[in-house]
């Protein structure tokens, strides 16, 4: 049943078709490069590797990677150390800013939040 209806083919039309087959447009280097760039980006192994990133890896990425995490860690450790050791140099800085040691030691929550005292008294 192969194309019985086409048996009356116009020979001239067939010649034009043949001409069209010979003059098919060539693929440009630019298009080839674009298609291959897509192939590289969509390489299944690459995509699968990206999908394998752990939740911890995503958190790390959100924070800016290892350099940012190292900075955050250093800052946190420095804060803990200052709080525990209270180094003399840091106390001197406090004094220079007008914070005397006794006054600093006497700070209570109400000093920072004046409304808290009356609020807690009202129950």
């Amino acid at each position: 049943m192969n194309d019985a209806k086409d048996d009356h083919t116009d020979a001239g039309l067939d010649a034009l078709f043949e001409n069209a087959r010979r003059s098919a447009p060539a693929m440009s280097d630019d298009l080839f490069a674009r298609i291959m760039a897509d192939a590289v980006a969509a390489t299944p192994a690459r995509v699968a590797a990206a999908r394998r990133v752990s939740p911890w890896g995503r958190v790390l990425g959100a924070l800016g990677g290892w350099p940012s995490l190292a900075g955050l860690s250093a800052a946190a450790l420095a804060g803990v150390w200052i709080g525990i050791a209270q180094p003399a140099a840091f106390i001197a800085v406090q004094s220079g800013l007008g914070f005397e040691g006794a006054a600093v030691a006497s700070y209570e929550l109400e000093d920072l939040m004046p409304g808290f005292d009356s609020l807690s008294a009202e129950g």
Partner: protein, 194 residues
């Protein structure tokens, strides 16, 4: 049997796609060189000669092939047929957006302006004359004629690409050829054939 990794050029399309799914970019290169030029030619004719748009469609169709590679089922279809089908749908989408009506069952006879189309071919060479006549066909007729007579596909494969029955393909190609003949007949002498 030669494996895609050792000689991609000698491998079947499905084997190449499987090799690409395993990370072989050389397989993607061979597939691109095999399929993309044909799809580009087809899309160029489908889109009325708009080369830039045809390139975009070809790139998009190939991208979809890369993405489906890991899930490709060898029994699904021929790889090239699948790409042609994707490209067909992309072309029809663009033609719709451009405001051209796409009648899925279009089997119209040549439009009344066929003589005008012929008149516009006065200075055209054979290829231009054929392309101008193809552009005057309803989209589905043009699609069937190009796939059958320029891409050289068999009717069952065209049916798969167009998602219609084989009988409908035969009808579309027959009517399309009649329309082309009617449009080109007056120019026979000028186009250099009798």
């Amino acid at each position: 049997m030669t494996t895609p990794a050792s000689d991609p050029a000698a491998s079947g399309d499905a084997a190449l796609l499987a090799a690409f799914a395993a990370g072989d970019l050389g397989a993607a290169r061979v597939l691109t060189l095999r399929i993309a030029p044909r799809v580009l030619g087809y899309c160029t004719r489908m889109l009325g000669g708009d080369r830039a748009e045809a390139e975009d469609v070809t790139q998009e169709a190939m991208l979809r092939l890369w993405r489906i590679a890991p899930d490709w089922e060898p029994d699904r279809a021929k790889v090239s047929t699948w790409v042609f089908r994707v490209a067909t749908n992309l072309c029809l989408d663009r033609l719709r957006r451009a405001g051209r009506a796409v009648d899925i069952g279009a089997v119209d006879e040549p439009e009344d302006d066929a003589p005008d189309v012929a008149e516009r071919m006065l200075d055209a060479d054979r290829a231009d004359a054929l392309n101008a006549a193809l552009r005057a066909l309803p989209d589905r007729q043009r699609q069937a004629v190009v796939l059958r007579h320029i891409e050289g596909m068999a009717n069952p494969e065209i049916a798969e690409v167009m998602d219609i029955g084989t009988a409908a393909v035969e009808s579309l190609t027959a009517r399309g050829k009649r329309a082309l003949t009617a449009m080109l007949m007056p120019r026979r002498g000028e186009l250099g054939y009798e």
